[in-house]
Amino acid sequence: MAENSENKKNENAFGDEEKNDSIFDIHSASLREQPLPEEGNERGPWWMYVIIVLTLAFGFFYMGRYLGEVSDRAHVLFTAPPGAEAVEEVEFDLIAEGQRIYTRVCQACHQANGEGISGVFPTLAGAEWVVDKPDYTVLSILNGLRGELVRERATYDGVMPQFGSQLDDQDIAAVVSYIRTSFGNDAGEIQPERVTQIRELTADKSGAYTAETIEEWIARIEPDLEESPEPAED
């Protein structure tokens, strides 16, 4: 092996003077005692080349398979295999969604337990508007409510902002359903379709309601509304 390559070198076409009296010839005596490679020019075992080829093949396959879209758009692909589990339908849960919205939007004033703050923000627990007349609640969420509000046990004088522009019909239905079934309330859910209907009927109302105008508006839209939701079952 070693000698072959040396001879071939002599014949090569570069015309360089090849010197055969390399360091090996000088130290050949000591080197021959070692049974292992001396040339510094071995080619390596065959399996090394197998690994190289397989690695290249895998690398290019991987790039071809998972390259994705070549752009500067941020996107995360391929982290889960597409198929079976991806299509699983999640049933929309009005109450759970309503709780999420309540925490985010309503809780700051009406408090986590729905008790409100006396004299300013009405309590929702057992409130007539919430349990028996949910249309009032929907209206005040849609357009807001200001001015004095007289109730049996207390009088409130705060400002309810309008949420009609930031919550859609499903959100409002969800949050009203949530407060109707929480804080000790035991009324039924209301459906997004009803909120849609109310929103359409009150489309030309601008600004917040007061205790009086909300009565007028309820009276005006009542005949056009479908039947009221079932009252509390107690």
């Binding site: 292992l36 071995e42 290019f60 998972y66």
Partner: protein
């Protein structure tokens, strides 16, 4: 002796003893500075490790909190110990393999002084809370630029050696070192540009830099040392010079895109990550080539390994390189990354790379270089052996439990039924094992520092005769 390449060398002037004499002060200064930062970094490492399982330990001072101690540990080890010692070893290797004295010696010493000052200032900055908050780049940009500039100046000296070399053919170590001195200033410069201000892009830059700093700066220096010391100590030429070149260009081709595999699952464009994973897997090619080459050179010379402190460390480092690289290729795959991402497994992996490979290579190099620079002998063979075993057992005790713990941690984190606190508690025994291992490693470092101080200051008993030139001395 009129044969081949040897005739190219004017050995009357360029004898290795002449070259070592010229290399003495710059290389000694770089290595000694490195050892100083190694001790400081070890102390910080112990602190950080203990804080992982005893969070209140020394937590009453803000400058000793985990968020400052741990980054400083990383930075002093990387830019202090490994970079300084690595630069010194690289210069010495170039001087030996290019047969030319180290040029710009006063500049190199001056630059090393500045480098030390920058590290000192940077340490105070990190401890007092001034940090970039980017892993591997915690030093403020201004400090980092000074360090990169220091390496650049030393790199210029390396280039001068290349131009004024006394041999025609470049040994494979030279390829690695020259490339490392080209690449690191580039990496350091780019990472300091003020354009990576969006979080995603900053993360991309972070891992592009951090992984390349390991792969294009420390790995080339470590491999250059292995390619020189293994044949040199065994006394047998490298198994295949052709394969060694294949290994080098494989690294140059595949390494620089590896870093983004740290960002699997991030909002970085998918093709960035995919190419990076493919490149990480392709790293198997140069790694296997290098492993075969080193293994076939050493095989059959076990006694040479046993009798040489250098080769013990270097062979341990070379084996770790193979192991850590193959592990890294597997880790980069999305399926494995799903489990081990954000776990202690990756920390252990990084320590196999920076300690079991790079640091062990540097220890081995120091054991070879320092007696030749100082014309003095190591004080105690027993202490060298103690250092080797403390380091070897220490790093195994560090990595094996931590990687097992990391996999368990990853599996637990992927299981939504297991509360996060349970996952935390699960890792504590492994973290304690790490602290124990840290004590062993630090003890090894103290022994090493003691030996270095003894050999540099030449105190104590002078050995009867320097053993390193045993043959020559016997003849005289």
């Amino acid at each position: 002796m009129s044969s081949g390449h040897l005739s190219e060398i004017d050995s009357s002037v360029q004898s290795i003893r002449f070259l070592d004499g010229k290399a003495r002060y710059p290389v000694l200064f770089l290595i000694a500075s490195g050892v100083l930062w190694l001790l400081f970094g070890s102390l910080l490492a112990l602190l950080a490790s203990v804080k992982m399982h005893a969070p209140e330990f020394l937590g009453q001072w803000s400058f000793l909190t985990f968020g400052r101690v741990r980054p400083l540990h990383l930075n002093t080890m990387v830019y202090g110990w490994a970079s300084m010692t690595g630069a010194g070893v690289a210069l010495w290797l170039l001087s030996r393999t290019l047969r030319v004295a180290i040029p710009m010696r006063p500049y190199i010493i001056g630059v090393t002084v500045i480098w030390n000052i920058a590290l000192f200032v940077g340490s105070i900055q990190i401890l007092s809370g001034f940090t970039r908050g980017i892993e591997w780049l915690e030093f403020p940009v201004s400090t980092m630029i000074v360090i990169v500039w220091c390496i650049l100046v030393i790199g210029i000296a390396a280039m001068l050696m290349l131009f004024y070399r006394n041999v025609k053919t470049l040994y494979v170590s030279v390829w690695y070192i020259i490339a490392a001195f080209l690449w690191l200033p580039l990496l350091g410069g780019v990472s300091s540009l003020p354009i990576f201000n969006s979080p995603t892009v900053q993360a991309g830059m972070n891992w592009w830099f951090a992984h390349n700093a390991l792969g294009l700066w420390f790995t080339p220096i470590g491999l250059a040392a292995a390619y020189y010391f293994i044949p040199k100590v065994v006394g047998r030429p490298i198994y295949s010079y052709g394969l060694s070149l294949l290994g080098f260009w494989g690294l140059a081709l595949f390494y620089n895109w590896n870093g983004f595999h740290h960002l699997i699952g991030s909002p970085l464009p998918t093709w960035f990550v995919t190419i990076s994973i493919a490149a990480s897997v392709m790293m198997i090619i140069p790694v296997v080539v290098v492993a075969v080459n080193h293994h076939m050179t050493v095989v059959g010379s076990f006694s040479a390994v046993k009798h040489s402190p250098t080769l013990r460390f270097v062979v341990f480092g070379a084996m770790s390189y193979t192991f850590v690289s193959l592990q890294g290729s597997l880790q980069a795959l999305r399926s494995t990354n799903e489990v081990i991402h954000f776990t202690h497994f990756v920390v252990a992996h990084a320590h196999i790379g920076m300690y079991a490979f790079v640091t062990m290579m540097l220890f081995g190099s120091c054991y070879y270089i320092l007696p030749r620079l100082t014309n003095w002998e190591w004080q105690s063979h027993k202490l060298i052996k103690a250092h080797f075993w403390l380091s070897a057992i220490g790093i195994i005790l560090y990595t094996v439990p931590l990687q097992i713990g990391g996999v368990l941690q990853g599996l637990a984190m992927n299981n939504p039924d297991i509360p996060f606190m349970d996952t935390m508690n699960l890792t504590i025994p492994y973290l304690i094992a790490r602290s124990v291992a840290g004590v062993l490693l630090t003890a090894g470092h103290l022994i090493f520092a003691y030996l270095v101080v003894r050999i540099v200051s030449k105190v104590g008993l002078r050995p009867e005769a320097p053993t390193i030139w045993k043959k020559t001395l016997k003849e005289t």
